[in-house]
Structure formats: C-alpha cells, structure tokens
Symmetry: C2
Subunit: 377 residues, 2 copies
C-alpha cells in the first residue's frame, strides 16, 4: 500500500535528511580511511543546562560528548545509525513513530535489537539533541510523543492537509459546539488563521468546558486551550507555534498553588531540566500568569473557599524560592510565593464558583483582562 | 448576563424538573401534615450490585434506603435538597457543574456548606441513583464529569448546537486533518449522521494517531475513538449513544494483558461495581473484543515482541478467573485468560510495529475484521 505519494517534502524535511546523511557520510569516510568513526553530540545532563534570562527558558549548554566505535560501543553505535536510518525513512514516506513504536521496530534488527525501551529512548534523545543544534525538532525527525495534546476552541481556523491527497483542510475551532479540536501529536505542518487577541491556556478540563460551553472566547476574542494539568509536549508545541506565527500573547489560568506556579506555568513558559534540548521548541517565554494569584484570593474574596497548604505544597514552594532559577530570576514570583506561604492556603480556579458558576466569566476574567500589565511574569 | 434564552427545554429536561419537584412536594407535604419528611433512594453499595447476563452489565439491584429528617441528618437532608435545587436551576438555565464546582457552590450555603468534596459527591451519587430509576442520567441532572472524553475521527458528522443562539452546528470528523474531535463532557444533546459500518475503540493515543494520520477509517468505513486507557465516563457515554442511535457494532482494540481485558474492555462493556447506577447509561454491552488476543500473539508472530507477565498481571488474571462475574459468565474469556497465563507473556498493540509501522493497517486489522464472528465476547 503506497502512501503519501502526493506530499511534497518541506524545507525542514530536506534539512533533516541532509543532517542524517552528513553524519552517515562522516562515519563512512572514517571507516574508508581506516579510522574508527565517532559521532559528536551535546551532553544532555543537568550539568549542561542553564537558565538564560534573555532567552527566557532552560537551555542546553555547549558541552559535548563523543560516541566512538569501540568493542564496547559497537551495539549502541549501530543502534544509533539504525534509528537515524529509520528517521530518514519516515521523513521520506511522511510517516512517524512514537517512542514505543521505535522500540518495537528494532525487534527485527537481530543483534541490534533494543532489550528495553529505556535504551532506545536514550539514543533517540541523543539524536534529538544533535538535531536541535540545527533547529530541527523531534517532530522533524518524525519521533512523535505518545500523549496527545489538549483541547482547543475559539476564534481560530487550523489549516491542515489530507495526508493522502495533499488537499487543504480547514478546521474552524469556533464551530465545534460543545466539543473541541484535539491537538495532534505533531503540529509542525499546521498553519493558522485567526483574529484572536490572545491565547488563554487553562489548567483544568472543567474550567475549559465552562468557558467553551458559554462561548467565552467569542466576546473575549480569544482562543482557549485546555492543558489538563502539566501541558504535554504536543500542547506546548501547538501554543508556541500559534503564538509565534500570529504574535499572540499567552495568558495562563491555573490553580493558585505551588504546583500550578512551578510545574504547570513554569513548564509552559521556561521548560524543564529534563530533555532541555527540546525547550527551544516547546517553551513559550512570552507566557504571562493571569491567575489565580495569591492576591486574587484577597481581591476576589475567596478566603473561605481555600484549602490549607499541604506539607508537599510548602516543600515545593520553599524549593522554588531557594533553587528554581526561573523563580529566582523574577522577584515578583518570589514575593508571590512568599505571600502564599504567609497566607498558608491554596485556591483552585474552580473556587470562583463560590460566587456563582459563571462569576468567572462575568466578573473574574473581565476584571483580570483589563489589567494585563499586572500579570505575574 | 442572561444566557441560553433561545434554548428550548428537552423532554429529558422536563422529566428532570418534574422528578425534583415531585420529591420537593413530598417533603413539603410531609412537613405540612406534621410528619418528618423522608426520601427513598437505591442502596449504592456492592451488596446491591448484580451482573445480569441478559442485560450485559453490572446493575443496581432493588434494595433501598431511606434518608429521614432527624436531628442527626438535618444537615445532610438540607444539603440534598439544596443540591437538587441547584440541579433544577441548572436545567432551567441550561448550565452544568462539575463535581468540584458543585462542592464550591455550597460555600455560600452557610451552615449547609460541604466541608469536603467527599460529602457532596456522596449526596450527588444518591440523587443520581434516584434519577437513574427514571432513566435520567447524571448529565440530565447537569452534573458533568471533570474529565473530558477521548478523541474521535472518521466517517461521522456530529450535530450539536450553538448554546447561545440555538443554531445548528455540524462537525465533520472526516475533515479534521491530523487533529480530531474532542468529546465533550456531556453528549446528551448530540445527534449524528454517519455511513460507518462500525466503531473502533482504541486503547492508546499512539495507535489512534497512526490510524488517523493514515486515514484508516476512510477505507475501513468506520469511526475511530481514542480511549486513552480506561475510558472516561464521557467517552463511554459518547460511544454508547452513537452505537445506540445508529445501530453500530463496537470493536475494542487494546493491549493483550489482564489490565486491557478486565479493566479497559470490561469497563467499556459491562461497567464497574462503583457507581453501578450509572452503568445503564454508560455501558456498551454490544462491544466485542477485536484484539490483541492471546491467540493473536501466535497467529501474528509476536512472540519475540512480548514481555513477561508481571506479578500484578498474574494476580489480576487469577482474580478475574475466580471472582469477575463478567469473565465467569463467558467461558471464552476464561479460556483466553488461562491461555495467556500459560504463555506467561503480554503484548501491546504497538508490538505489531515489529513487522513495520503500518503492518497494523495493511495486515492485522483487515485480517481481524474479516472474521468478526471470532472476536471474544
């Protein structure tokens, strides 16, 4: 069964193939001149991760390691070449593989086969790190994340194409009723048309459904995205691409607790130390924190709809104050976290329902959106 | 801000309001005649749950309990009436609340307020159990689940409406590109148009993305639904309504392991003992198990892409053989689970990638779908 015959290769596809072929050619040249081949790649450990305040995210430093072909590395060296060959084949056939699938593909590689997915993941991360230096993402390599993205609704037309015929497909995210657009695992090929003024990234599914069912995005002239806790890579990449292509501000609406600040919001904005080579593609440095902020608990009278901070909350808050380069770089965040610790409570975004189910739509969001400059950074 | 003025009430809405008003009238009548009011409701414990092979799902039995107004129950009695009043108000305004929101609403109820969500959940379950006797679902009461549904693609047009204007909205799930339709938290108001021959319910997001990106549903003439592990209530309700309204078979495509059989598949088909009053709305008794079956591991040469059963797998399998009324009622399932225990391995649906990424599309699914009558029940 022949697939994707009508799909032209993109510039990114050509760059990806060129990168893989250039590494392969170096390996072959070394062998032909009687040398042991080696492949240089960025070091991926935390010792090579820095927070650059100007860039606004955690990024990989300049440290490199070398994988040379020796008796001990023969198997992993061969696996790396085979995975790169698989990547090249997928670019050519316009296909993709999840990390799990890539692991299973190797079951037919004889002695080269991976015994555990941890092995294939580590080698895939190395290949991704090499590609990231050329501004090529893991999706360009056709390694897709397992988890899909969140839901989207609002003033946005997504422009995709039929992968079999090449025909253009337009999805109007204002015409999905009570449902929504489910973000695909790779957003690289998408384009957008929108008259939205901003993107609202929402922590919980319940709040997303409320804002969608009441078509909040219509009058507020925005796009709403459900993160569902810490946003998946697919969600982060989608928000980043959409924000970049249409110069859209991104406002984050999450629970008022240390997890919401330092895990959900911080991951969206500045990324994580894990897989730091991906942050340049995934992070949204322009994101701002709409709420719920500690001050909101006071300003919107939520004191009796809060819960006490748990020991885990308190530890997370103190760790952030002491160790998190993003928090330390932003005094306003340190002040907000200290304020929360003094108050001793946390508040969920759904706590606004205390004043009525749609208080969030009628009062909270309009008042907040009138003072964007006061959002936490 | 007035909402939903144009939305006519449905028959279900009228029945829901009538039920709530009839209970309220009984309470008032008792008080006016000097009696202590009481409310009868189904017992929700496991002792009142049975598996009816003819119906095909775990259902609530006939046992009842009575909540009478006493000094000790004054608070919970009042909470129950207030939650029913909130439900009636939401039906009238065409709104809804998640369980979490319903808990927060009570923060303005003075002495009636819930201290913990567990309290409001239990009372909500009682109200749902009463309503279920009248064939009214929790969504009819406007209590929506927190978790959204899975993704959908394929030969299906979903017919919804603009909740503000009443205007009809049609979503063509064949025209969403690499994205998909995200199932809303309530599917009650949806209608469908389809020429599909069946619904394929898929365990993993990765497999869903593969079948969607290659538009498997086009040639196979079907609708694909991503369950993402054990399907959420929203996903189960959506599949059930779609299957009922268009008389569509439902085939389940999950991993070959005890969790896939007894948690994912069994939950979709026969429900769970928890919240058994919901099973009549959520279960899909006509669902059949496409695979991956233990016999598939042999028939499709997957032996070297399997993993050993873990102790948890073995315990789950033995529990199912000894205690699960659904498994016990189906000798074919008992035989299949015994076969898996003898083989000592499990296989994921992505293990088919051993034969090439699209072997599942080109070989596995066509061969299985040619022999539907051999699917496990």
């Amino acid at each position: 069964m022949k697939r994707d015959a009508n799909t032209p290769q993109s510039d990114q596809d050509r760059l990806t193939i060129a990168l893989i072929e250039s590494i392969a050619n170096q390996v072959r040249a070394a062998i032909e001149s009687g040398d042991l081949p080696k492949i240089r790649m960025p070091t991926r450990g935390l010792e090579n991760v820095t927070y650059d305040r100007a860039a606004g995210y955690l990024e990989l430093g300049a440290m490199e390691k070398v994988r040379a072909l020796t008796v001990n590395t023969a198997r992993s060296f061969a696996q790396m070449l085979r995975l790169m060959a698989a990547s090249r084949a997928m670019v050519k056939s316009n296909d993709f593989a999840t990390k799990r699938e890539a692991y299973y593909i190797s079951k037919n590689w004889g002695d080269c086969r991976f015994d555990e997915q941890a092995e294939s993941d580590a080698i895939m991360d190395d290949i991704e790190a090499i590609a990231s230096r050329q501004s090529l993402s893991r999706e360009n390599l056709r390694f897709y994340p397992e988890a899909h993205g969140g839901s989207v609704a609002g003033r946005l037309v997504v422009i995709d194409r039929n992968v079999l015929t090449g025909e253009t497909i337009e999805i109007d995210c204002a015409k999905l009723g009570s449902g929504a657009y489910s973000i695909p695992r790779s957003a690289e090929q998408l384009n957008f048309r929108t008259d939205a003024r901003f993107i609202l990234a929402i922590e919980t599914g319940g709040m997303f459904q409320r804002l969608n069912n009441h078509r909040f995005w219509e009058s507020a002239q925005c796009i709403i995205v459900e993160m569902g806790g810490v946003p998946t890579r697919a969600t982060r990449r989608f928000i980043r691409l959409l924000s970049d292509k249409h110069d859209l501000p991104v406002y984050c609406f999450v629970d008022c607790d240390p997890y919401g600040f330092t895990n959900i919001y911080r991951t969206l904005k500045a990324g994580s130390g894990n897989a730091a080579h991906l942050n340049r593609f995934l992070c949204v440095p322009r994101a701002r924190f709409l709420g719920v902020s500690p001050q909101d608990i006071i300003d919107f009278g939520l004191q009796d709809a809060t819960h006490p901070l748990t020991p885990v909350d308190i530890k997370r808050a103190k760790d952030a104050l002491g160790n998190d380069p993003f928090i330390i770089a932003h005094p306003q965040w340190s002040a907000a976290i200290k304020q929360l610790l003094e108050m001793g409570v946390r508040a969920e975004q759904q706590a606004l329902a205390k004043w009525g189910l749609n208080y969030v739509i009628d009062e909270y969001l309009p008042r907040k959106l009138a003072k964007v400059s006061e959002f936490l950074p």
